[in-house]
């Protein structure tokens, strides 16, 4: 089930009422919110819920062993077993087909024929998110960062419907304490919540889907048929599209959780204002960045083993971060570009200590490295990505380049430069209005967003496929 749909609106209206009604009774609220989350998740295919339950059971069991066993060896074995199980799920459902096909091709290329069966596996939606979430939980229990939780709590931690499909990736110590304390129905953070939800709808429907339909999809479908200016618009357009698509989803997720009384971590902080790649990753998909940092980069050694080891760790982290997005060489290359750029940036910072690029140049460089990497992220294959980049210098007619689309791209980047205080003031202003006016305003935005979409309806969120 997707957020901006009739089905979800109806579900949420019911869940909102029942959730607050049951809130004073945790023994009733927990099964209720879990059932609602499973209903949400299993809407397309109920069998995926079984997978989710299996993941919760295994990780709960492992965490209980870790918490209770006096033996360090047993604790470590339980941790390793849980991680192997979690990564195994990802390996089977997400990567098996890719690796078998690559291996088959490799064997064929050295004359051994094509002996392996091609594997056809349905990718359960959100699997990358809920497995990473499970790993954070068991690792945090092992590290003593969070106490072991009950099966129901772990299940809610993984399945809580606002974040299950595409994050944010929540840590146990961020959500479990909230689950244990009934929320106060007298102080719902409605202002930020409504702003986030309505803003998310606008980002998705008015910007992301519009850019996808009018320029990005046609250009990436056949780059050779488009002029340099159309390719350039698609080049910047996808940067705007993916930001509005993914941050729009996250805004809605955080806003919906807020309406139920729960705070999820921030996932985006005006990423296109970053003046370096390092800063970009502190602003873009922040919950994945910190996951990669805390559960991969630092365990690999981080920057503790000298310069070369640091570069190696950065590359490994970003390559795996790329692969996390999808089983394709385009994602690996996307991660590789970021890894190489982060390493180069680090080298330059040490080599030219004291020298700083002017802010405008640093911004320009960072933004364009990010945009070039997005080309590989968006393209269906490497050849298309190189066609897009290679065609940026060609002329020709440009019917896709229209002023509204250019303004949409510019606005979606420029709006990030608005002072954050303005948004907070607007939220405070909205909350101070009468309920009817707030409802009318939110309803009006939904009407306008739906009109912007037209009859084709909302396209699936980009991150649903990961």
């Amino acid at each position: 089930m997707s957020f901006p749909t009739i089905e979800f609106a109806a579900l949420f209206a019911v869940v909102f009422v029942l959730s607050w009604a049951l809130m004073p009774h945790p023994s009733a609220w927990r099964p209720f919110i879990l059932a609602a989350s499973y209903f949400f998740y299993g809407w397309v295919d109920w069998r995926w819920v079984l997978l989710l339950i299996a993941s919760s059971v295994v990780n709960t069991f492992a965490s209980q062993v870790i918490a209770r066993s006096p033996s360090q060896v047993a604790r470590k074995r339980a941790l390793v077993a849980a991680i192997v199980f979690d990564l195994g799920l990802l390996a089977v459902f997400k990567y098996l087909g890719f690796f078998v096909s690559e291996l088959d091709e490799a064997l064929d290329s050295i004359g051994l024929g094509s002996p392996l069966p091609l594997v056809q596996i349905v990718l359960p939606i959100g699997i990358s998110f809920f497995t990473f979430q499970a790993i954070t939980y068991v690792v945090d229990v092992y590290r003593g960062v969070t106490p072991a939780a009950s099966l129901v709590e772990v299940a809610i931690l993984q399945a809580f419907f606002p974040h299950i499909v595409a994050g944010p990736i929540v840590r146990a110590n961020e959500l479990l304490p909230q689950l244990r304390t009934p929320r106060d129905p007298r102080s719902v953070l409605a202002g930020p919540a409504i702003f986030l939800i309505v803003g998310g709808i606008v980002k998705k429907t008015v910007v992301a889907d519009e850019l996808a339909r009018r320029v990005v999809d046609p250009v990436y479908s056949d780059p050779s048929a488009h002029s340099a200016s159309e390719l350039l618009l698609a080049f910047y357009g996808f940067a705007a599209q993916i930001y509005c698509d993914f941050s729009g989803y996250t805004d809605m997720a955080i806003g919906l959780a807020l309406l139920l009384g729960y705070q999820l971590p921030q996932n985006f902080n005006r990423p296109y204002l970053a003046l370096s790649l390092r800063e970009f990753w502190r602003r873009w998909h922040m919950t994945l960045s910190r996951w990669l940092r805390d559960y991969l980069y630092i365990p690999l050694g981080g920057n503790r083993g000298g310069r070369l080891r640091t570069y190696r760790n950065l590359m490994i982290t970003m390559l795996l971060g790329g692969l996390w997005h999808g089983a394709a060489w385009t994602f690996v290359l996307w991660g590789g570009i970021h890894g190489a750029a982060l390493s180069a940036e680090r080298w330059a910072r040490e080599r030219f200590a004291g020298f700083r690029l002017p802010a405008w140049a640093a911004w320009l460089l960072t933004f364009h490295v990010v945009c070039v990497a997005w080309v590989f992220f968006r393209a269906p294959d490497l050849a298309t990505a190189f066609d897009v980049l290679g065609g940026l210098g060609l002329g020709g007619p440009s019917p896709l380049v229209t002023l509204p689309l250019v303004l949409l791209v510019v606005a979606s980047v420029a709006i990030q430069a608005l002072p954050q205080g303005w948004w907070r003031e607007a939220e405070a202003w909205l909350v101070a209005r009468p309920v009817a006016l707030q409802g009318l305003a939110a309803g009006a935005v939904i009407v306008v967003s739906d009109a912007a979409l037209g009859q084709q309806g909302v396209a699936p969120f980009i991150y649903y496929q990961f």
Binding site: V188, A190, S221, Q438, A442, Q455
Partner: protein, 316 residues
Amino acid sequence: MPAGRVLGVIWIALTVAALFNSEALVRAGEGMRPGPTRDIVLSVGRPIDDVAGAIGLHLPRDGLDLAFGQEEKTAPGTELERGSNAILRRNRQKDERQSFAQPTPGHPLRVLVTGDSQAEFLGQRLIDQSPPGLLEVETVARNGTGLTNPAFFNWEVNARQEVAARDLDAVVMAIGDNDGFNVQAPDGSLYNPGDPGWETELARRVAVVSSVLSSNGERPVYWVPPPTARDPKFNEIFAIQNRAVERATQAVPALRYVDVYSTLAKGRYSDELTIDGKRVLARQPDGIHFTREGAVAPVRLILDAMAEDFPALRGR
């Protein structure tokens, strides 16, 4: 803010959205698969739409649609819903193969690839499988649409808009994956898939839409009904759809049937196909849609059909 007041905001927002978007609400219901969700949405949406229409609440949305350049994809009284079977009478012109202007690198063939979600990869692969410089392909996939539900998406209306907006030399139409539902013929009869009347009604609808797409024979239309599916239940329906399209070709000038149903893997379903000596995973997990790699096989059949009208496309 207290939860009760938040609930008020949510209800007012949803009520405003439902009232001013009532037509979209009904259309969304019409587009859902038969089942309780669709029934609930329509049973709630239709009365709201009646009330909203009666008191003029459609006007703001109509204005917004105009401002955003949105085109209406449904209309009352179209031939698709109200026409007659006379359109299926054999057309004598069909006996003579029309000739069309041949493409050259200076004047490539302008092709629209459209239909349901199956059209997406077919359009993408048509570009890289055709001789360089001879095709200019635009792909417009209308996901979730079909011919059996014009109350949700009327392909006759859409076809008129598509051909009016472009200067086309040929059209590839790939559709049928969402059509396993009952249909109402113009005389009011209701047919289920499998009824003889269902095939006739579908053939009639193919004839109506293809006549519009071809502008009555000005340009060829290559109609690609669904391939074999993994699920035998779908296969029964897909076989009828293929027959319906073949039947419509007898009546509509310039309508060509591209048979991917009985030709690929000799009519047997297979997840994989061998293309250029290499095995590829040809179908998506749903057992119906082609993968990007697998779409090469049907695209070559489409190009073969196109080469009958445009010999320059031979020998790719």
